[in-house]
């Protein structure tokens, strides 16, 4: 039942993350920067890990929460997560 991360459309994942983060933190989607570090706009590590859980449900994939610490912004995460050479 699990999908492969590299089958996910990066644009879809990016827009889902932006919507999720803006919803949780009350940020304006129009001015949200996907290249800012998560902690710059207040997404702390606990909230990032919760997001990983919701993302698993949404996309039917396995998300290692540590990936958010290794690639701590939306652009970098999406690129690494959906990369062809990803595990």
């Amino acid at each position: 039942m699990q999908n492969d991360p590299h089958d996910i459309d990066p644009a879809l994942l990016r827009s889902w993350m932006v919507k999720y983060i803006c919803g949780v933190l009350g940020l304006d989607i129009a001015t949200f920067s996907t290249s800012d570090r998560f902690d710059v706009y207040g997404l702390d590590s606990v909230e990032a890990v919760i997001m990983a859980g919701v993302m698993e449900e949404e996309f039917q994939v396995i998300v290692d929460p540590h990936q958010f610490f290794d690639t701590p912004n939306v652009d970098a995460f999406v690129a690494a997560f959906t990369a062809r050479d990803a595990e």
Binding site: G26, D44, V49, I50, A52, G53, E56, P65, H66
Partner: protein, 547 residues
Amino acid sequence: MDGQFDSIVHVVSRHASRKSAHDAIIFLARGETETERVSYGALEARIARHAGRLARFAGQAVVIATPPGGDFASVFLGALRAGAVAVPVPLPDTEKNRSRFASVLGDARPAAVVTAQDWVARVAAVAGSATILTPGDLDGPASALPAVDPAQPAFVQYTSGSTRTPRGIVVTHGNLMANQRMIRTAFGTGPGIVGVNWLPHFHDMGLIGTVLHPLYLGGTAVLMPPSAFIQKPARWLRAIERYRADTAGGPCFGFELCTRTISDEQARSLDLSSLKVAFCGAEPIRAQALDAFAERFAPARFSPSAFLPCYGLAEATLIVSAAEPGRGIRRKRLPALGSGAARDHVSCGRPVEGGALALRHSNGGAGEICVGGPHLAAGHWDGTRRTAVPFADIFAESGTIYLPTGDIGALVDGELYVVDRLGDFLILYGAKIHAADVEATARDEAAEIRAACAFAADDGAREQLVVLCEVDRRALAAAAALAPRLARRIAEAHGVVPQVHFAAHGALPRTSSGKIQRAAGRTKFLSGELGLHKVETTAANPVSHAE
């Protein structure tokens, strides 16, 4: 041998000889599927082999930076069996943990660091001259059980102190065994214990309460990483159901996270009826949070009488006081420390059997909680001399050595209520004001305020009461409008017009257990590091908010 001290490694070894096939540790790497199951027989064999390899580090610090699971338990106990001083630390996986890791290594001065294969390169970058080993390297000839002196350091807990000045607390073999007995008596646990927990394995509550306590009793520790729980809190509750756990718990925040993320419908599909002890400690206990959990999980047959609030700290190994098992939460409205209205507090029960607890400067009311007894740790680790240096502020009274904890408590009918942290009186205009009271007034006045930090600051002309309020980022822009109301209310309640500032939730410095650090908050504020700036000022109540 008769009269020989029975250390934790002796106890585990005895369980292995009596019930070799019994499950000691079950690990769920992602909180769902079982990834590891270790019997007492297998655990004992691994401990003995690790101890054989670690014997050359006897008397020296051995840092253990491994992910949670069976390897951590066997390496930790192997180090103890080898006579080394184990120093469990989090993996250097985030920026914060990397700087923490480096500063702990600098203070502990370990002879060796044990880490998982995947982490060797990253650990080597900061490990200095310490030998780096993986659990796979520790497969030596089995070592015999040693004679252990109860005064000998067993491990060092780096759970207090800032990153800049880490302080390792030395827990002796005697401390550990005394506190294990205390937990057993206080929680009413026994050899049939099945604990299902997610707490960090390098932190006092996770290590002593959830990894070692079931092993001490000969029961089963079912463990998952904290991230697996936080990612999907339902995993914890499903594992409780699956393994028919009788003991599980954590800080209040864990129960809150379950209530926040698990729907009524999901709750109805769970069965939590096996849970007899739902311990709650390590941070202030909010009765409303536990009430909400009990209400949500009543259809899952969770019994609120299972709640067992407790109080403890690493300096006392772990546990200091605990509510009676099977009673649930008892709350009491206690007068505020200084000005301000009475508030409800949750009882943390009676001091554990064999422990001593006293209140200092209490004048019959609340006072600083001071702890003594066989679980009082030996002191701070001196990495250079490889020994414990007694805590600087211990004092003797009636033949007992006590350590002041910095927490303020009240004893009502023999039960402890923790009401505040110390260091936080303000003397303004000749009046004594308790920071906790001002903070409570701020939070009560506006639901938007998630946390507050009050202190006195000298603006060059006079001492002022400063109140830093955390609000959700989305509420930040509108928060300035709250300031006049807050200032008015605080002035009404405490007689001083404050300066009110706003910052995004999470901006204030906290301890590792989530308590706001007032002194650090004050320092950051005064040095301008919080990034606050004034947007609006009136003579009576200047206010500001963060960008």
